[in-house]
C-alpha cells in the first residue's frame, strides 16, 4: 500500500514539472482528442437524434443534452480550480497556477453555454428568457467569478504574484458551487429541482438519461483535451526563457 502511494506521489511530482508535463501532453494529445471526439459525438447524436421525445415538452427538452453537461462541467471546473489553488498556495507548485489559468476560460465558456441554452429553454417552456431566481442568479455569480479570475490574472504583470492572487479567489469562490447545487432545494425557484439525486432513482426514463450520461462523459473528455492543449501553450509562454524550451524549439 505504501509502495503504491509513493509511486502515485512520485508520478504527481513528475507531472508537476513543466518539461515533463509538456512531453507527456505532446504525446497523449492525439489520443485525448480522438477520445473526446468519439464520446462527444456519440452522446450528442444519440441524445439529439435517437432518444424519445418528452411527453410534455416535445423536442425542446433535447436542449438538456447540452445544457446539463455544460452546467456540470462549469461547476466541476470551479472545484478543480479550487483544488489547484489550494495546491498552488500550500506547495507553491508552478503548474497548479498554470492549471487555474488554463481552466478559467474553459469554465467561463461552459458557464456561458449553460446560461444561454437555459435561457432558450426557459423562453419556450417557462415563457421568459430570464428570471432572477436563486439558481439562475447564483450561476451568473459563478460566471462573474470566472471573469474575475481571468481579469485578475491578466492584470498582474508578475506571474507568480498573479498565481497567488487568483488562487485565493479560486479557493474562496468555491462556496458558490454548493449554493448553486442546493439553491433549488433551499429556496422557491422557477428552475425545477434536480432530476438526479443520490437518494432516489432518477425521475427520467433510462432511454433519455443514458444518452445524457454519455454527453456528460463527452464534455469531460472535451474539457480534458482542451485543458491539456491550453496548458501546453501556457507552459511554453511562461517558460520561454528556460533552456529546455530553447532546446526544444531552436535546437541550441
Amino acid at each position: 500500500m505504501n509502495r503504491v502511494w509513493s509511486r502515485i506521489k512520485n508520478w504527481l511530482i513528475a507531472m508537476g514539472s513543466p518539461p515533463h508535463f509538456y512531453r507527456w501532453a505532446t504525446s497523449s494529445l492525439p489520443w485525448l482528442a480522438g477520445l473526446a471526439v468519439i464520446v462527444f459525438c456519440a452522446g450528442l447524436i444519440w441524445g439529439l437524434g435517437f432518444s424519445p421525445t418528452d411527453y410534455k415538452q416535445g423536442d425542446v427538452y433535447r436542449i438538456i443534452y447540452i445544457h446539463v453537461p455544460s452546467a456540470i462541467l462549469a461547476e466541476s471546473i470551479y472545484i478543480f480550480m479550487a483544488i489547484s489553488g489550494f495546491i498552488s498556495m500550500v506547495w507553491r507548485a508552478k503548474i497548479a497556477g498554470m492549471l487555474i489559468n488554463s481552466a478559467a476560460p474553459l469554465g467561463a465558456g461552459f458557464t456561458l453555454i449553460a446560461l444561454l441554452t437555459g435561457s432558450i429553454w426557459g423562453k419556450t417552456t417557462w415563457g421568459t428568457w430570464w428570471v432572477w431566481d436563486a439558481r439562475l442568479t447564483s450561476t451568473l455569480i459563478m460566471f462573474f467569478l470566472y471573469a474575475a479570475i481571468i481579469g485578475l490574472h491578466s492584470s498582474i504583470e508578475n506571474k507568480t504574484k498573479g498565481d497567488r492572487a487568483v488562487s485565493i479567489l479560486a479557493v474562496l469562490g468555491v462556496v458558490i458551487v454548493p449554493i448553486i447545487k442546493k439553491s433549488v432545494d433551499w429556496w422557491q425557484t422557477l428552475h425545477q429541482p434536480s432530476t438526479f439525486t443520490l437518494t432516489s432513482s432518477p425521475s427520467m426514463s433510462p432511454d433519455m438519461y443514458l444518452p445524457l450520461l454519455v454527453c456528460v462523459l463527452g464534455f469531460y473528455c472535451l474539457f480534458i483535451f482542451m485543458l491539456t492543449n491550453g496548458l501546453r501553450a501556457e507552459i511554453i509562454s511562461r517558460e520561454r526563457d528556460k533552456s529546455w524550451v530553447k532546446k526544444q524549439f531552436f535546437k541550441y
Binding site: P52, D54, V90, W126, G127, A134, V171, S194, S205, M208
Partner: protein, 141 residues
C-alpha cells in the same frame, strides 16, 4: 509535512471557514428575499399590501381554468393544497400551462383578495418521460 506548509493549510482553512460563516449569516438574513415567489398560504398569512407587485406560485387547481369566449381573459385557481388563490390574467399563456402543473404569476392582489396577473410563467417539474410511458402511467392511475 513541512511546518511552513502546515501553517499555510491552517491559514487557508481558517479563512475559508470564516467566509462560509459570513455567507451562512448573510443567506439566513436574506432567506425570505431569496425566494422567487409566495405560495398562496404565505400570501394569505403575510400582510402583502394590495397593489404592490409580487410573485405567487403554486399548482393550477384541476378543473379551475375558465377561459373567456370573446377575449384572452382567463381565470384560474392556484393552490398549495392548503390555501388557494384566484388569478385573473389577460394575455397569452405559455405552452406548458395546464391543470395540475406549476405556475408562477407576477402581479398584485386586489382589494377583494383575488390576484390580477401581468405575467404568467409555467414551472416545469423534474420529470422527463416519453409520451408512451406517460400514457401508460395515466392508465394505471
Amino acid at each position: 509535512m513541512h511546518p511552513l506548509r502546515k501553517q499555510r493549510i491552517y491559514a487557508i482553512v481558517t479563512v475559508l471557514l470564516g467566509a462560509i460563516a459570513a455567507l451562512v449569516l448573510v443567506m439566513s438574513a436574506l432567506s425570505k428575499n431569496m425566494n422567487l415567489f409566495y405560495s398562496p398560504s404565505e400570501l394569505v398569512s403575510s400582510n402583502v399590501a394590495p397593489g404592490s407587485v409580487v410573485r405567487a406560485g403554486g399548482m393550477v387547481a384541476s378543473g379551475s381554468i375558465q377561459k373567456s369566449t370573446d377575449s384572452l381573459e382567463v381565470i384560474f385557481l392556484i393552490t398549495d393544497f392548503q390555501n388557494s388563490l384566484s388569478v385573473t390574467y389577460n394575455g397569452i399563456l405559455p405552452d406548458l400551462f395546464s391543470e395540475d402543473a406549476g405556475v408562477v404569476v407576477k402581479g398584485f392582489l386586489k382589494e377583494d383578495g383575488t390576484f390580477l396577473a401581468q405575467e404568467v410563467l409555467a414551472k416545469h417539474d423534474e420529470n422527463y418521460m416519453p409520451p408512451e410511458v406517460a400514457k401508460m402511467l395515466n392508465k394505471i392511475e
